[in-house]
Amino acid sequence: MRDFNRPVAIVSSASFETPSEPARNEVEMLLPVIQKAMADAGLTQQDIGFTVSGSSDYLQGFPFAFVGALDAVGPWPPIRESHLEMDGAFALAEAIAVLQHDGIDTALVYAFARPSRGELDRTLALQLDPYTVAPLNPDGRGLAGLQAQAMRDSGRFADVPDVPPTYVADGATAVVLAVGDRAKELTANPVWVTGIDHRIEAPALGVRDLTTSVSAKVAGEHAGAAGAEAAWLHTPYPHQELLLREALGLGDRPAHCAAGPMMVGGLERFAQASRAVAAGDVSKAVAHATSGPCLQQNLVGVLEGGAR
C-alpha cells in the first residue's frame, strides 16, 4: 500500500536484545523498552490512539502470551488494542491501516519474545502442514539448508553461505507512530512510512522455487522500494540476503541484515532503519520482515525522511 490519505511516520523507537533473558519475564523485559519509546515521543499511554503487538505463544511456552504482556503498557483506563500472532512488523502494517481512520493519530507497536526458553529449531516444525510434514519434525535449520542447497544447485549464486544454527535471542522492540502534523509535533525528524506491503507464498516447499523470493519482489514493488539507498533485511539465515537483494533490486547498495529474536526481528529492522533515516544517514530506506520457513511470507516497508 502507498499514497496514504493520512501520512504516517515513525517518531520514536526502542529496542532490547540479549542471547537469553532468564531473570525477567515478558512484562519486565518489555516495560523499559516501551517506556523509552514513549518518553522519546513525549507521550503517555493515554495519548496513544491505537496499540498493537506481535508475539507467539509457542515461544513463551503457554497460551495467551500477549495478555500478560499488556501490563507493560498500562491499559487503564481501557485502551484500543489488538494483537497479531505475527512478527511485530505486521502489527506495524495493521497500525498504519488503523491510522487512516479520522481521530486516531498515534499508535504504539511492540513485539516481544523469549525463544531461549525452548528449543526454537524444533518448535519451528509446528509451522508446517500438521498432517503430512510436521510429524516428520524437520527442524528450522534443516529447512533453511534445503533452500541454501537449492541455491547452490541453481548455479546462479557465486557463493552461498553455510547455514549456521538457528539464531536464538530474546528481546523486545517498541515503535511509536503518528500521523501528519502530529508526527511533526512529536519529533524534529519524523521518518515517513511511504509504502508498506506484504505477500505470502504456498506452504509446501516442493511447489515453490526456493531460489527466488517472489513474495518479497511483489511486496517491494507495491511498497515502492525502488531507489532505496539502503536496506534493513530480516534474514533468519544468512543465505537469504542473496535472495532478498535480488528480489528487491538492491544491487550492491548496503544491506544491514539480521535475524533478531523471532517475532521481533522484522519490527526491529523498521526501528533500526528509522534511526538511520532520522539521523540523515540515508533519505530512503527499505525495511523488511519475513515469516515462515524459507522466506514464505515477506513484508516490505519504505521509510523516507524530509517534510510531508
Binding site: P63, F64, D71, W76, E81, S82, L124, I200, P203, Q296
Partner: protein, 386 residues
C-alpha cells in the same frame, strides 16, 4: 458514511468433532460458502485475514503459513489476529480497517477453531511460571464473577436457567448450530450437573469444531453484489488489564467504553430502542443479563429483568442470540466472528428460520481474556448516512 459492507457470510456445521475434514478443509467450507454468498471466487479477493484463539488449541504454530494456499492467499497479503476469545470480533474489526483505509477492496475473513485436534481445557488451564495453577478452565475463572453479579443485582437463581433454555430453543432454528436439544426445559437445565457453582452443565457452552467466514467489500463493490449487503455502521475495540485494583470484572470498564464508542459512531443514543437485535458473546448463561447492563440495554442491576420478562427472547423487544449463541456452538476462535456474521445475516434478511422480522440494525459483540478484551460492530440494512 459507510465505506465497508459484509457481502458474504459462510459457516460450517458446528460439531464436537469434525473429523471428516482437515483444518484447511474446515476453513475452506466456511470460506467457499461466504464467497458463494458474495457471488465471488477466490481470485476476486485482495487479502485474507484469519483469526483464532491460541495456536496450542490445534498444535499448529502461526497457521496462516500452513493455510496460505488452502485459502487462496498465495501472492496476496495474509494476516492472523489473536486476541483471546474476542478474536472473532477483533478480526472483523481489523479487516474492516483494511477496507476502510483503502488498502484493499475485498477481504476474506475466516475465523476458526478445531478443538478436537487438541485439548482446549489443557490449553486454558496451563500453569504460568511463579503463579498458582487452578486448572479450572474458563468456567472456574468466571463462576465467582457470576456469583458476584447475582449478589449485587439481587437476581433470582433461575435467570441463568432461562437463558440456557432460550438460547437452545433458538438453536433449533439454526441449521449450523452444534447443540440441538429439542426437549430442552428449565427442569432439564436445573437437574444437569453443577460444574462450577452456579454454572450447571447445560448453562455452559460446548467445545466445537467450526469456522465462520465473511467477505468484506468497499462501497462500490457492495452496491453491485447479488445479495443484500450488511453495511458496517461502526466498529470498536477496547482492552484492559487482567488484574487491577480499579477493575470491575462484573461490569467491565472496557466493555462499557467499547459500547459507548460503537453506538456514538453509529449515531445511536438509545441502543435498546434503536437496535433490532444483538448477537453477543455468552459462553455461560449468566453473561446474558450481565452484558445487558454492560451494553447499556438495561440499567445496572436490572439486566436480569430483561431475561425474566422475555425481552431477550425471539418474541421480545430485544432478541438476543437468535442463532442460539455461544451456548449452542462454540468454535472458540470463531465464536466472536459468528456473532458478527449472525448480526450481518439479520440485517440482510438472510437469517432463515431464526430471522428477526424486519431487523434493520444489529449489534455483534465479542469478549475475551478475563472479560477484558471487547470487540463490537453495528451493522445495518442501509448505509449509515452522515
Amino acid at each position: 458514511m459507510s465505506k465497508v459492507a459484509v457481502v458474504g457470510v459462510g459457516q460450517t456445521k458446528y460439531a464436537a468433532k469434525r473429523q471428516d475434514v482437515s483444518i484447511a478443509g474446515l476453513l475452506r467450507e466456511a470460506a467457499k460458502r461466504a464467497l458463494d454468498d458474495a457471488g465471488m471466487t477466490w481470485s476476486d479477493i485482495d487479502a485474507v485475514v484469519i483469526g483464532k484463539a491460541p495456536d496450542m488449541f490445534e498444535g499448529v504454530m502461526m497457521p496462516e503459513l500452513y493455510l496460505a494456499d488452502a485459502l487462496g492467499a498465495v501472492g496476496k497479503p495474509m494476516m492472523r489476529v489473536h486476541t483471546a476469545g474476542s478474536v472473532g470480533g477483533s478480526t472483523g474489526v481489523m479487516a474492516t480497517h483494511l477496507v476502510e483505509s483503502g488498502a484493499h477492496k475485498r477481504v476474506l475473513v475466516v475465523c476458526f477453531e478445531k478443538q478436537s485436534e487438541s485439548n482446549a481445557t489443557w490449553a486454558l488451564s496451563i500453569r504460568l511460571p511463579f503463579t498458582g495453577g487452578s486448572v479450572t478452565g474458563a468456567g472456574g475463572f468466571f463462576a465467582p464473577v457470576i456469583r458476584a453479579y447475582m449478589r449485587r443485582a439481587n437476581a433470582p437463581d433461575d435467570i441463568g436457567i432461562k437463558v440456557a433454555v432460550k438460547d437452545r430453543l433458538n438453536a433449533l432454528n439454526n441449521q449450523y448450530a452444534h447443540l440441538k436439544i429439542p426437549d430442552i426445559s428449565e427442569e432439564m437445565v436445573r437437574e444437569s450437573p453443577m460444574l462450577w457453582d452456579p454454572i450447571r452443565y447445560l448453562e455452559t457452552c460446548p467445545s466445537s469444531d467450526g469456522a465462520c467466514a465473511v467477505v468484506l467489500a468497499d462501497a462500490d463493490t457492495a452496491k453491485a453484489v447479488k445479495n443484500p449487503p450488511a453495511w458496517i455502521h461502526s466498529t470498536a475495540i477496547r482492552s484492559e488489564p487482567t488484574m487491577g485494583a480499579g477493575r470491575d470484572v462484573v461490569n467491565p470498564h472496557a466493555g462499557r467504553d467499547c459500547a459507548k464508542e460503537v453506538y456514538a459512531k453509529a449515531g445511536i443514543t438509545d441502543p435498546r430502542r434503536e437496535l433490532d437485535c444483538a448477537e453477543i458473546y455468552v459462553p455461560f448463561s449468566w453473561y446474558e443479563p450481565m452484558w445487558m447492563e454492560n451494553l447499556g440495554f438495561a440499567a445496572e442491576g436490572e439486566g436480569w429483568k430483561m431475561v425474566d420478562d422475555g425481552s431477550t427472547s425471539m418474541s421480545g423487544d430485544m432478541p438476543i442470540n437468535p442463532s442460539g449463541g455461544v451456548l449452542s456452538s462454540n468454535p472458540i476462535g470463531a465464536s466472536g466472528m459468528c456473532r458478527f456474521a449472525e448480526a450481518a445475516l439479520q440485517v440482510r434478511g438472510m437469517a432463515g428460520e431464526h430471522q428477526v422480522p424486519n431487523a434493520s440494525r444489529a449489534l455483534g459483540h465479542a469478549y475475551g481474556g478475563g472479560a477484558q478484551f471487547f470487540a463490537m460492530w453495528v451493522v445495518g440494512s442501509d448505509p449509515l448516512s452522515e
